[in-house]
Amino acid sequence: MAECIFAFGQCFEGKLHPASLEILTPLREVADRLNKRLILIGLADDKEKFLAIPELKKLLADEVWYIIHPNLKHLPDDLCERVFVYLASEHKPFGIFFPATKKGLSVAPRVAASLQAGLCAHVNAFEVKNGNLFLLRPTYGENIIAKLTSQTLPIMATIALNAFPIKEAEKEPLIKELKLPEGFDWSTKLTIKNFKPAKKEPSRLSVAKIVVGGGMGLKSKENFQMLFELAKILNAEVGGTRPAVHAGWVEAERMIGVSGVSVRPKLYLAFGISGAIQHTVGMEGSEFIVSINIDKEAPMMKMAHIGFVCDAPSFLKALLRKLKAED
């Protein structure tokens, strides 16, 4: 008993949500440390489309169990709950994990309530010690990291998005279809009347938790572009000062300041920004400000929580080099 770990494979129209692949990365390690089998549970309405999913053969699970029924097309929460509750009672898994997608965050709590199991949300790190599994997450406004356990089995959690990279397996998982018993209740109380696929995502600068900003101190457009690389590593958005926008180094939608975007991120990294009022009114509410500037007396250096007196392009190059080396 409790020999397997379930991970929710969220499918839609023949696509597997990348978050379902991300969560396999830490779960693979957990499964190995605790000597359990990691099983991806896929729910879908079309068998052929499911089996055609490209990532299926390279994902990190030991097995993939898929369940097919037309009612699963839009993964209605009540039906998904029933399926997982059935699987839990049949197989008594050690843990059931969902990605913190909207679907995961909607289904996991229903399953947990039915199983009277504890559920931890937005877990972004795991710890295995003496055969016990600990779940870590930032909490209470993200200034505190909490370490949690669950006193019930299965251990359940939703795993934070973008917290783990997708990794590929050496070995192909065992893929098999699960047929649920004859009398299984496939009904759902929810009726989808209409579905509109998502359009391209709008700019996320104003709601970004981490912003890297660049000013004239970066000296050139090429140097400025390095900010995008840094942003990718930090999972941040890029912004620029007015002069930088007018110099054509970055598009106007990314201008931070008066008559531009106002940002209130947890972390603001200012590269080569002097700190003119036109810019600072757009970011002075940032929780933690880091400034890199050759000029020790620049207003941004006084405003920052930490300042590095340094030529911005050199600092940025060194920073990128070190961050990439760590990976």
Partner: protein, 262 residues
């Protein structure tokens, strides 16, 4: 006349939170409480249904006695009745225990057509309570709802999904959670604000809810916090000088310390 129950939460004003060193849970009694911002759209959605189809709107909140002023402010927004669900035995509840308490309170307030909640709270940020409560009550849950339409006696939710936008028809009663983004929320009414002193919430304790103590509070919470690490803040204006390499190293160290880098 139908009934809508809105579950709201008082959360510590960001920056004023204190964590109990022993239990690692929030010391809610000592914190300055504000209305959980995502609950405001939830209240607005309920009040729009009241304007449109004359639903009775009741606001309930599980929390300590210092929630009363917040509930009064919610009354000023236009709800018909306010309830505080409060008992020492509820303290320290995780989302499952909380959902048990809310489910029991809701069953005392039934029949109702809709339970409306904000999608998440800004302190716990789990978003789990609406679907957990729904499951315990054996009701459908519809999450990430942007808009609720009430047409010909039927409810339709416009909701955000990971892959697009859904229009979902659902039967009542049901539990709905509302996304924090909304086009407009109404201000409080001056008439109600001027008469606020006379308004007190009805109180429900465990005497009325009659829940087994093993299922509520810390003892009823399967998830337990075993440790917390608080992030420390560097004071403003610390300046470092040196070579790009060593400075970059220092920045990486600071970012890791603060959890911005793994």
């Amino acid at each position: 006349m139908g009934r809508i129950v809105v579950c709201i939460k008082g959360v510590p004003k960001p920056g004023t939170v204190k964590v109990d060193e022993e239990t690692h849970t929030l010391r809610r009694e000592s914190a300055e409480l504000i209305l959980n911002p995502p609950d405001r759209p939830a209240l607005e959605v309920a009040l729009r249904l009241k304007d449109q189809a004359n639903f009775e709107v009741i606001a309930i909140s599980m929390g300590p006695p210092n929630m009363v002023p917040l509930l009064q402010k919610v009354y000023a927004l236009g709800v018909d009745d306010i309830y505080l669900i409060s008992d020492r035995a509820f303290a320290g509840s995780d989302t499952l225990a909380t959902s048990r308490i809310l489910a029991r309170a809701l069953s005392l307030l039934s029949p109702f057509d809709l339970v409306v909640m904000g999608a998440r709270s800004i302190d716990g940020e789990t978003g789990q309570v609406p679907p957990e409560t729904a499951s315990l009550l054996n009701l459908p849950s519809i999450t990430y709802v942007k808009e609720i339409r009430f047409v010909d006696g039927k409810f339709i939710a416009i909701r955000e999904d990971d892959f697009g936008e859904e229009e979902v028809e659902f039967p009542s009663p049901a539990v709905v959670s509302i996304v924090p983004e909304i086009d407009y929320v109404r201000p409080p009414s001056l008439k109600r604000l001027l008469s606020l002193k006379e308004i007190t919430p009805k109180i429900l304790t465990n005497a009325e809810l009659n829940l087994d103590e093993a299922s509520i509070g810390l003892s009823g919470s399967p998830t337990q916090v075993v440790d917390v690490f608080e992030k420390t803040f560097v004071s403003r204006g610390e300046i470092f000088e040196g070579e790009p390499d060593e400075l970059a190293e220092k920045l990486i160290e600071v970012l890791k310390e603060k959890g911005f880098l793994a």
